[in-house]
Subunit: 264 residues, 2 copies
């Protein structure tokens, strides 16, 4: 608990990355995507499944290069095709490969690299680029508030088979915390879209918990407790960013579909 | 052999579908995608892996609806995200699901539904929509020519661990056959882009064999001989269209990247 809180301070550089945005954030997202997919694949190795980290690195770099040179949506489609294609060709060494090796390669690249890529996309969303803060506010706000609410008031288990310590009270507290934090952010920094911030706070409070639980399911099936031990008390990169993988796309598609702003 | 050739005649309706194009082809592609992914998932069930056919049907219909209403690339990106997301949420019934169930769901939708979707995209490629014929000419031309060349001249095994009967001679014959057929097609129907047709014939002769071998790898790992028995002597839908899954995207991205035509 003490380690957990203290180590939380190590996350402070993240604030700087978010503040600077642009190239700094771009590089950070790529790096976190690559480190995250490495942890994800290491988990699979515990199940004797061997995804190709090499393919993941190449495809992660390719995705960010496409974005950098301005080849957007039609490029992402080609990227999707090539990602699946190359992962399937990985099976041609048939004696040393299982179908799971290719399927986990595909899943890791999309789940970790592609999902986290949306953080960069939000940063590029012109007048709405500040909404990048909502990605982390909802993710970490939900996490912290759920933790303390559950600690103080938790009585009823949420889904003991996936995550035994989580409670319904904690879950609700997390959502309320996410709404409050997003609301405060909107009130002070984006008052003209305060209502959108509140709605994102609500949605983020929900999807961030799905992100957390999804990671828990993977870890449980892989038979590991944490994805890594990069940050003492916080586990690996993926343990810390499991919710961001879900709140990033949520904020991005909210901007595109609800607000109607199309980043180019 | 006789059954194989006779049953080939059953493929004639395919010519009508290609000739009509438009809505007829659109519907046929969606149907073939859904039937194909069903066969693919049935193969996984032999390995005690249980992908969700329900998710695949919903996502296949969603992809074609997006295309139909004209929400293209940015919509496909959302479709990719939702496909992965929903397949991951499928794991929340944690006691009855394995990671492989979600990963095979994802792989099937992308490999079968998304790859075959490119046939529709080529049909929508304005002045180049006739290149849809090259998708099947290269796929079936390679297949038939490789079969007969291998039958007559085959001496050296191509990759006995994946497909024991294939020979290098057959493979080369298939590529040459694909070039000749594509060249003849270009000469008579698209003389202004004859060179492109020849190049596509060469590329198609290669990628269609990769498509064939990829399907063989899956079937071998699944422990099945054919994906189905829809067409006597030809197996299932996927046995027939395994090469089209690769030549379809190849022709589409050739049009976009090499010819430089961007379908809208």
């Amino acid at each position: 608990m003490k380690t957990r809180v203290l180590s939380g301070l190590i996350m402070l550089p993240l604030l700087l990355i978010l503040y600077f945005g642009g190239y700094v954030l771009f590089a950070a997202c790529l790096l976190i995507g690559i480190m995250g997919v490495r942890e994800f694949y290491n988990g699979f190795r515990q199940m004797d499944v061997k995804p190709s980290f090499g393919i993941a690195v190449v495809m992660a770099v390719a995705l960010y290069v496409l974005n950098f040179i301005g080849v957007r949506y039609e490029g992402y489609m080609l990227w999707f095709f090539v990602t699946v294609l190359v992962s399937l060709l990985y099976l041609f060494n048939i004696e040393n490969r299982k179908l799971e090796d290719a399927m986990s390669t595909i899943t890791g690249i999309f789940y970790v690299v592609f999902f986290s890529f949306h953080v960069t996309l939000v940063d590029q969303a012109g007048p709405y680029s500040n909404m990048i803060w909502l990605i982390v506010l909802t993710a970490f706000g939900t996490d912290v508030m759920a933790y303390f609410t559950g600690f103080l008031l938790g009585r009823h288990k949420l889904c003991p088979k996936i995550s035994p310590k989580k409670t319904i009270e904690g879950s609700v507290g997390g959502i309320i915390g996410s709404i409050i934090l997003s609301g405060l952010f909107g009130y002070f920094f984006m008052p003209e879209i305060l209502v959108h911030c509140l709605v994102i706070g609500l949605l983020g409070g929900i999807v961030s918990q799905f992100g957390d639980l999804t990671a828990s399911i993977f870890k449980r099936k892989m038979g590991i407790k944490d994805y890594g031990n990069l940050i003492p008390g916080h586990g690996g990169i993926l343990d810390r960013f499991d919710s961001v993988l879900f709140t990033g796309p949520m904020v991005y598609y909210y901007i595109v579909l609800v607000i109607g702003y199309m980043p180019n």
